[in-house]
Symmetry: C2
């Protein structure tokens, strides 16, 4: 979500290179209790989201990572266990660590299997996913593969006609290569809004669109605070979005052996914000069997979509932001950057 | 969609057993030009949709099947070619025949691969899918497997901000087993409505809900006739539904080697109604690696969904109709049944 006016944002912003931001975040994450290799993965993930304009999953999340590590809810030094369970099936136990480093550990075996089998699956459990989902699928499309991923989170979305939250925001991300440009990548929650967007609106005192959620009594509301304070989000698109939310719960939790969103209980860990659930990733080699010219065909589809009048494709804005950041650096509000620098030079010492 | 008042419907209905309806449809389809084995598959598919209350994909479609066969656009005697292209990847060339018989031919190899690999994929091209999609996934859930399928159709849905149709109604179907009841199965178009529903509304003179579509000038309309007459449907749920429509196009056509919805050109075959496109089917063994108690976990989720206040789950109505049909027979309007019997006893002779 593109909050805030870019011009206004730039006026009080400092521009920092992607590499410098990654280094800064690595220091913060290490000091907060992540192992070096975990901090490296998480810093790149968080800086990449900020760079690409996915602000709700960028620097906005840093305090949540730090407070969660301090709470003892997540293990920043977990060593994921990769299990080779079938010819095209990898299971990963993240051992109560973050999802992205566990995915990084499982990816080589997954790629080997995709190459041989044409399709392969990675099912992760005991994992904490607190970032954007598109960075998990985009790299596969850059290798010419198609990827689909599903993550559940914590109960904050009501089912059809329901009064109590059951589903997480439950995003689905998809990536595919194309011949004439950056991969097609989308990442969208099954809820009317993402949680991060609700929290940003609450912070900024903005009301939300109709159909966003219900308050603690189950009545419709557009007040982000009422949604966060015992209320819940609605699925997007009525019963169809609700079906997808249910499917994500089944794929990301039941199939992986992870927790359902409604099972996340962090009440014993004040400050915890990263849901401990599961994640499913399906990767397909579109050229298995050969000769289908997949990337060229996707390009033809995109040509037709543009010709019909759609100007921006999913992922276009992220790539525009990425190019601008490579040229000018990443604009970060001075107050945010000052906070990050303070966190990097003080706080908990690395253990 | 459950059109018409059930009581009124029953008053002028005759009840026929599922087996008798299958036999009647087989005769009609054979006379219209399908090979015996193709007619057997298609009759069971069409009768099952009618029995389960998926009326827009049941007997309503019979004239379309017959006129399409008469037009020479589809080959009712096609012999599908099943290709074993990788350890977990089956390709099927339906050879310009119907999708369901081609899927039936590819399924044994697909199941073999799922068993060994934990996940497998069937990518079909040159296929005509004119039925409901849930019958393609439900049988896998009945075997304890998880299945996902995607089919594109013909251009009738505009992209985000677009003025011309690009996508088909592009349904997604999902099926998963559960421990305490019938499988969880949903089948939903990426468009605000299914084409069959628009056609039924047009026939019955009903207007559609807001947000259903645009007329031939690109202006919003609730008139089904304006949508069918050069207009187009909208995706469900705004840009998120549009992303799914695009994904289905990529998976069902680009990845399979089938035609995009916008490439379907049946102008040389008056009477043709079955789009010649592609279909993707992904099947997963949720117990690969063992010990995750998948069906029990799905049951726990369902318990929570019901507890939150959702009374009917996806597929519940179909199973209720199926049980009622097993007890009482399938209610069919007398005029419809008379038409079917006339078609079965006259018309084109089997060749």
């Amino acid at each position: 979500m593109n909050e805030a006016d870019p011009a206004r944002q730039k006026a009080d912003a400092e521009f920092i290179s992607h590499d410098d931001l990654v280094a800064l975040l690595e220091t913060i994450f290490r000091r907060a209790g992540m192992a070096d290799w975990v901090a490296a993965v998480q810093a790149r993930n968080c800086a990449g989201a900020e760079r690409d304009g996915s602000k709700s999953h960028g620097l906005f999340r840093v305090p949540g990572y730090v407070s969660t590590l301090a709470s003892g809810w997540v293990d920043g030094r977990a060593e994921p266990v990769v299990e080779d369970v079938a010819d095209a099936f990898v299971r990963v136990d993240a051992m109560n660590g973050f999802a992205q480093p566990a995915l990084a550990r499982g990816t080589p075996l997954l790629l080997e299997k995709v190459k041989r089998s044409g399709i392969a699956l990675l099912a992760m459990r005991n994992s904490h996913h607190f970032g954007a989902l598109w960075p998990d699928v985009e790299p596969f499309a850059e290798r010419g593969l198609v990827a689909l991923s599903f993550v559940n989170s914590f109960a904050c979305v009501v089912p059809v006609g329901g009064r109590k939250p059951v589903y997480g925001t439950n995003p689905i991300a998809f990536a595919a290569p194309r011949a004439g440009g950056d991969p097609i990548v989308f990442d969208q929650s099954s809820s009317a809004l993402a949680n991060g967007d609700v929290r940003i609106a609450a912070r900024e005192g903005r009301m939300l669109p109709e159909g966003s959620g219900v308050d603690r009594t189950g009545a419709p509301t557009t007040d982000p605070k009422a949604i966060l304070d015992g209320g819940a989000l609605l699925p997007f698109g009525g019963y169809k979005g609700a079906s997808l939310a249910m499917m994500v719960e089944i794929l990301a939790a039941a199939l992986t052996g992870g927790q359902f969103s409604f099972e996340v209980d962090w009440s014993g860990h004040p400050g915890a914000e990263t849901p401990r659930t599961g994640q499913l990733l399906v990767v397909i080699d579109p050229e298995a069997g050969g000769g289908r010219r997949f990337a060229e065909r996707v390009e033809q589809l995109i040509g037709r979509i543009r010709d019909a009048g759609q100007e921006r494709l999913p992922g276009d804005r992220r790539h525009d932001n990425r190019r601008a950041a490579a040229r000018d650096g990443i604009p970060i509000q001075r107050s945010v950057l000052a906070d990050l620098r303070a966190r990097a030079s003080s706080g908990a010492q690395p253990n």
